[in-house]
Amino acid sequence: MNSVISGAAGVGFTPAEPHFSRTQQSLLFPTMIKRIKPDERLSVLEIGPALPETINFFSQYKCRLHFAAMYTDPVLQMQTADCTEAELAEHIEQSFDFPKGTRLDLCLFWDFLNYLDDKALRAFNTAIRPYLHKGTRGHAFTVRTLNTSFSNQQYGIEQAHMFSIRPRPGKQAPTTPHTQAILVNLLSCFDIDQGMLLPDGRLEILMTASL
């Protein structure tokens, strides 16, 4: 973890927008997006569901957007069952179903990593590693302290500095928040570059692949 900036970022309501109820500002995400060159062809992993605003946002770039829809994946139930780490890793890789030769440039994890317990997070690390390269960057939410809770919500990208937040349909899966120290230990294929403490106790982080 290289730097933690506190304050600044916040969550606001945007009643004018009919399709989502809230927005959240981000100071870190734009720094990741700024580095994209107009002619570059990107491969982006969105770990959550496909949302209209995210598709609209990335339509300005030459890219392949992979929507993994992992929040509704059976892995969240499998981790509590008697599955081994290897079985979980195999399932996650099958669930990604990336075309052969895929190398991800950007990974949008949102708060998904906090829905995986230690075993599942190690399995996730194993499953995603083959699809990273040295320049792969990731964005996620983690926690500063373990008593921070996560709401049952899903994220979209309205603008580089603004995420849309909607309630997630269905019951919330149990969460296992990870502090940054634990996260880098379990998700060893990424290093944390920057972090920003949010008012609700979550930590927004930018990561770079560590291969």
């Binding site: 973890m1 290289n2 730097s3 399709h19 720094t31 580095r35 994209i36 060159k37 002619d39 570059e40 062809r41 990107l42 491969s43 569901p49 496909a50 949302l51 209209p52 598709i55 990335f58 339509s59 770039y61 030459k62 890219c63 392949r64 957007l65 992979h66 929507f67 993994a68 829809a69 179903d97 990336f98 075309p99 190398r103 991800l104 440039d105 390269h133 040295k134 320049g135 792969t136 960057r137 570059d193 920057q194 770079t208």
Partner: protein, 183 residues
């Protein structure tokens, strides 16, 4: 007298019934606006190709190729097939890869699992999609279309590696380089 009036009125309406009954898309390209319909009780197992737009309310297993026309998968439609068409609208369920030369629209009730290649893509709020979307498919689409002159003139996308930049380094003086194109 009544008989005579009835027969003269019926004449001009003769060619309309199919379009009205099945609400064929008005903007169906390269066709007279007609669309073939696979009804809710029909199951097709095999490939479909042709020169007419298609509305699917039943189920299809195979491949669908209507290069210059529209494919619409209705709410009751279940497609387990790769689809290639000019415009593809989905309100039902599709498992397969989708290639549109103009546009793909996944409506609110749509549920799609597969990879999409299209110059324009619309996903309505509430639609379910799992897979990949190629957001700049010009090269892929052009490669498949019949335009050899343009294809030869096109330069392949070059791999660009960004020059090293300091982002935020924990160790003073340590630079990190970022490459956006995998290698």
């Amino acid at each position: 007298m009544f008989e005579k009036n009835r027969s003269t009125k019926q004449e001009p309406e003769r060619s309309q019934p199919q379009q009205d009954t099945f609400a064929a898309p008005a903007s169906t390209p390269a066709s007279s606006g007609r669309a073939a319909v696979i009804g809710p009780g029909i199951h097709v197992n095999g490939d479909i190709s042709g020169e007419e737009s298609l509305i699917i309310e039943g189920s299809v297993d195979g491949k669908i190729r209507l290069d210059t026309h529209q494919v619409e998968v209705g709410q009751s439609g279940r497609v387990n097939a790769d689809i290639t068409a000019k415009v593809i609208k989905i309100s039902g369920e599709v498992r397969g890869d989708i290639t549109a030369t103009e546009k793909v629209v996944i409506l609110r009730s749509g549920n799609v699992r597969g990879n999409i290649v299209a110059p324009r893509m619309t996903l309505e709020d509430g639609a379910i999609f799992k897979g990949s979307i190629d957001m700049d498919p010009s090269e892929t689409v052009k490669a498949k279309s019949v335009d050899p002159v343009k294809k030869v003139a096109e330069k392949p996308v070059e791999k660009v590696t960004e020059t090293p930049k300091v982002v935020s380094s924990g160790k003073p003086g340590e630079n990190k380089s970022y490459s956006l194109n995998g290698g």
